[in-house]
Symmetry: C2
Subunit: 241 residues, 2 copies
């Protein structure tokens, strides 16, 4: 019997899903999980997701580099905002990061109860995540961080991309997964163009970070997965076939 794959569009709906024994893939494309994968792919030793700004700030004294963002803007007093580009060229390799973001860390927190494992996903490591999931004996729940509780286009399209990639190996067990698989398959040849309509992409464009958007929509830049071990996200390499 095939394993199941399902999609939850928002942390506001996660209570309707049974997380127990599932692998939860948390996604916040613009930009938390894309940034996390970039950081891990560029050698940071771990990322600790933190719910609030104050706790995150206090971790500086413990030797963490602190990264914080609210409403798409870097937070006051933080070394790093939420741009994936800041981590390129192994800029912070070997360091521990503490990171708090508007929606992403909340979604990770809400994914914990009973999950077999929690991954973070992004377009930039889509194939690695898919390859890993195929080898695991568990149902999958893709948990979209959304925007302040609402459905958002980029996270949902990532869900569609992952479902599409895994469609041969998994049974699609909810309407959200069916809808987004189909939408991804018809828009994937021009994902940036389609997503330019999205509300959050427009917000980000207002902050002059088109380069971040373009970066986050690339496929398969990193052949690692991002996995929560204890309180820390760490990288695991995936062997290319």
């Amino acid at each position: 019997m095939k394993k199941n794959i399902e999609v939850c569009f928002s942390p506001e709906l996660i209570h309707l899903h049974d997380i127990n024994d599932k692998i939860v893939v948390v996604v916040d494309i613009f930009r938390a999980t894309s940034t996390m994968i970039t950081a891990l792919g560029n050698g940071v030793s771990s990322i600790t997701p933190v719910a609030d700004l104050e706790t995150c700030r206090s971790m500086k004294a413990e030797g963490y580099l602190i990264a914080g963002e609210r409403n798409g803007q870097p937070a006051d007093g933080f070394l790093l905002g939420n741009s994936p580009l800041a981590y390129l060229d192994n800029a912070f390799a070997g360091q521990k990061i503490a990171m708090t973001t508007t929606n992403g860390t909340l979604a990770i927190e809400k994914s914990k109860s009973g999950a077999k494992a929690i991954l973070i996903g992004a377009f930039i490591n889509l194939s690695a995540t898919a390859q890993y999931l195929k080898t695991q004996n568990a149902d999958i729940l893709i948990h979209c961080a959304g925007w302040k509780g609402k459905f958002n286009l980029e996270d949902s399209l990532y869900a569609g991309a992952l479902v599409s990639t895994l469609a041969q190996d998994f049974s699609i067990s909810c309407d959200g997964a069916i809808a987004m698989k189909s939408l991804y398959e018809t828009t994937k040849t021009n994902l940036p163009g389609f997503l330019a309509q999205a509300s959050h992409a427009k917000r980000l464009q207002n902050h002059n970070i088109e380069a971040d958007i373009d970066f986050c929509l690339q496929l398969d830049q990193y052949m690692i997965i991002g996995k929560l071990i204890g309180q820390e996200l760490v990288a695991q390499s995936i062997e290319t076939e």
Copy 2:
């Protein structure tokens, strides 16, 4: 400036939307709102949506025909279930109906606070609803009844159909509307085939009501809108151009 149109995928998310002064279009394609439009299109004088079975049952003594369904099955002791076909050929013309359904009546209830007006929508009166909305000076919120709080495909595709029909006249103000407009436009030539994958369609097929499904997916059988006036849904005719 154009009026706005937005989509809410579930009553579980309606608290994130500002209903105030908007026209809310409630949709529960399989089958509450399709059945209501069919009944109104076949001459019933009014439909009173009722949240619970007991209240609905008690209204029989007040002269209402009572219609009730739970989990896709007719409820015990009710004359009518939730099949639109039962109302064809003016079978209950001139009568008052009290109706309770799993998801549809809840969505109507949750749409009331501050709305300028509440309509019920279905594929079978898509053009009539669109035509009416164009003439009104109000933003629109399409409220999908969903399935036990989750996104469902048929209600969301109706939302996409209505957004697609109104795209020239309204500004699309949320990602859910963008997603479903696109999905509807790529699936509309084979809506029944695409929806056959949907979880609720599968449930209904198990109840041997394929005829209901086919009926609910037809476009524009009735040139009326269904509008809540006080506690009653009533029909208003739309002049064809």
